[in-house]
């Protein structure tokens, strides 16, 4: 009898405690889920994005938070793996009860998360992914602030004549991002009477691309279009230089982190050109110079390598987009935030953040259109060569 009594008290106590904890936490903070690759092949990029997100969260909290509450980032590692990305989304939504998520860096990672958003009706701000599929597959919980590769390719069209490309080969990472870029850029090039030669693929974990590069070296193309993240890109540049390849290399996707390329690939990075969505080297040329300078100042103050700035600004803008929506929604609930995201209109570090409708009617996704810059590395310095 005594034992049963003890059990009941225990259970009651536990129940009381968990309610207290839950309501206590809810009253204290607004939770925002962050689903990024912190390990695996995209670790560098994911870490930069998270660091940018933290700057935004600290800035918002220093100004008194949102709706009288502090915001709290729940940062989870998706290990650069789509299966893990979906699991992380599940954990954030059903375990931590976050009303909104930012993620998931890579296109394949984001695509893996998307069904979970539909299932639980929770919106996600997509900060980096560029596969066109993401906003055209009819998922109305997707709000993307990075350019899809089709837009990147269209904007690149204006820059192309100045480069005088006659024939291009592609070397792309083997996922939705890489294959999507090859397709979108290939289409634009063919329309401009530029020949498209080889489309070579590299596994996302591959470290040796010599075979693909040797094949490309032997063709009569003048340009290699490369799509991958900074770690693999460093290896591509080094290995291309080692094979004595002198063709022009143009990279897409906005995850090149040119300063890191210069630091790690050295002279091998010279002459390479990169399409990026942020130009931290020329803050006065960005749409909101004051905000850019504040962000770069914070980045420096925290002792982060400047190389990360081209990537991390997306984390910063992503969290600011979410915070802006929560503020206008007046409550931290998924449906209210989704509605508020549609009316977003504020200056991000790379242009106005404002969502247009994309995809099948009735279940459109949101897509914001940022600026695009083409930069060139010369003598281990970064030069703005077109925008």
């Amino acid at each position: 009898m005594k034992r049963a009594h003890g059990l009941i008290t225990g259970a009651a106590l536990a129940a009381a405690m968990s309610t207290a904890l839950a309501t206590g936490a809810a009253a204290q903070t607004i939770k925002i889920g962050v689903n990024e690759p912190l390990t695996g092949p995209f670790a560098a990029s994911g870490t930069y994005v998270v660091n940018g997100a933290k700057i935004a969260a600290d800035e918002i909290n220093a100004k008194g938070g949102l709706l009288g509450r502090k915001i709290e980032l729940l940062i989870e590692d998706n290990k650069s793996n789509p299966t893990e990305a979906a699991a992380v989304a599940e954990k954030l939504i059903s375990g931590d009860k976050v009303p909104v998520i930012m993620g998931a860096w890579g296109s394949s990672l984001t695509l893996a998360v998307m069904p979970k958003l539909m299932e639980y009706k929770v919106p996600m701000v997509v900060e980096t992914s560029s596969s066109s599929k993401i906003t055209t597959s009819g998922n109305s919980y997707i709000f993307r602030i990075s350019p899809p590769s089709s837009v990147e390719a269209t904007e690149f069209k204006a820059i192309m004549p100045s480069l005088g490309i006659k024939k291009a080969d592609f070397l792309v990472i083997n996922n939705d991002w890489g294959r999507g870029s090859a397709e979108d850029f290939g289409k634009i090039m063919k329309a401009q009477n530029i020949q498209v030669g080889l489309v070579e693929i590299m596994d996302q974990a591959a470290q040796d691309m010599s075979a693909q590069l040797a094949k490309i070296k032997a063709t009569d193309s003048d340009t290699i279009m490369v799509t991958t993240a900074v770690e693999q890109l460093t290896l591509v540049l080094k290995q291309a230089a080692a094979l004595g390849i002198t063709k022009r290399i143009v990279t897409t996707g906005g995850s090149q982190n040119p300063d890191q390329l210069i630091e790690q690939a050295g002279a091998a990075a010279n002459g390479s050109m990169h399409l990026t969505t942020f130009a931290p080297w020329y803050p006065d040329k960005t749409p909101d110079p004051a905000a850019t300078k504040y962000f770069l100042g914070e980045w420096k103050k925290r002792g982060y390598a400047i190389a990360g700035a081209t990537e991390s600004f997306r984390g910063y803008d992503g969290i600011r987009t979410i915070a802006n929506a929560i503020q206008r929604a007046g409550k931290a609930e998924p449906a209210a935030i989704t509605d508020a995201l549609w009316t977003t209109d504020f200056p991000g570090l790379n242009g106005q953040i404002k969502f247009q409708k994309q995809g099948p009617t009735g279940k459109e996704s949101g897509q914001s259109m940022p600026n695009l810059y083409l930069i060139k590395i010369e003598n281990e310095k970064i030069i703005l060569s077109g925008s």
Partner: protein
Amino acid sequence: MTELLQHIVNTLILGSTYALLGIGLTLIFGIMRVVNFAHGELYSFGAYALYFVGVMLGLNFFLALIVAVVLGCFAGALIEVVLLRPMRGADIDTTMLVMIGAMIVMQNGEQFVWGGVAKSVSTPFPELPLVIGSISVSWLRLFVFCAALALIGVSYLLINRTKLGKAMRATFQDRDAASLMGVNIQFIYMATFAIGSSLAAAAGALLGPVYVISPQMGNLASLKAFAIVILGGLGSIGGATIGGFLLALAEELGAGYVSSGYRDAMGFLIIIVVLLFKPTGLFARAERIG
């Protein structure tokens, strides 16, 4: 033709490091019969050791390489004494599970200590490649090739020409008989594992600067090492050497002339074909029965 020559040069360089990985594992897996899932972790251990000594402590690159290999040797000895010695006589599955545990602990340990972001190591070699006709190769890779060949030669001599090598071979043929002949069995087990580990660490330290160093770099290395050992035949140093070069050739030509999307699959395709016709691998050591 030029393209083919370039593929062959690439193959030789890649193959030499694959061979090194394969020889290290063939000692442990082929001779000691320990299914060493931590082999790839010793590979990344070697790379991080080079990074620590060469970049963080600022030691000369070549000295740092040697230190990394020695550290790999000690790490291997430690694993043998702490994890495998108590398992002596246990069946192959039990030690396999222990090594899977070791792999998980080591990989997560690396992640904990160094973070998930890849590190790179700069070397004293010139950045401009060596160009012969239309073929070009980086000096660093050329050095890696020579160092790997030297290490392969040393291992061969060690196993086949020294007293230690003879004792090793005797021990794993018949432990009791070797023991009765006065061979220090415990020492031989430790030495074999340490030598195999130091070869993996050497491969990691040599390839770390060629590629980038990350906690996950060992996964693919492990997989390839097992493939090489199975291809070459368990326990055969010559087999592992040839197996390494064959795997590199299959990958290089597969990516060059078939499809780069299936580069890593090519190697395994070759293995399936070889095993269909020669189930013990190309150069299996004669099994002693009983």
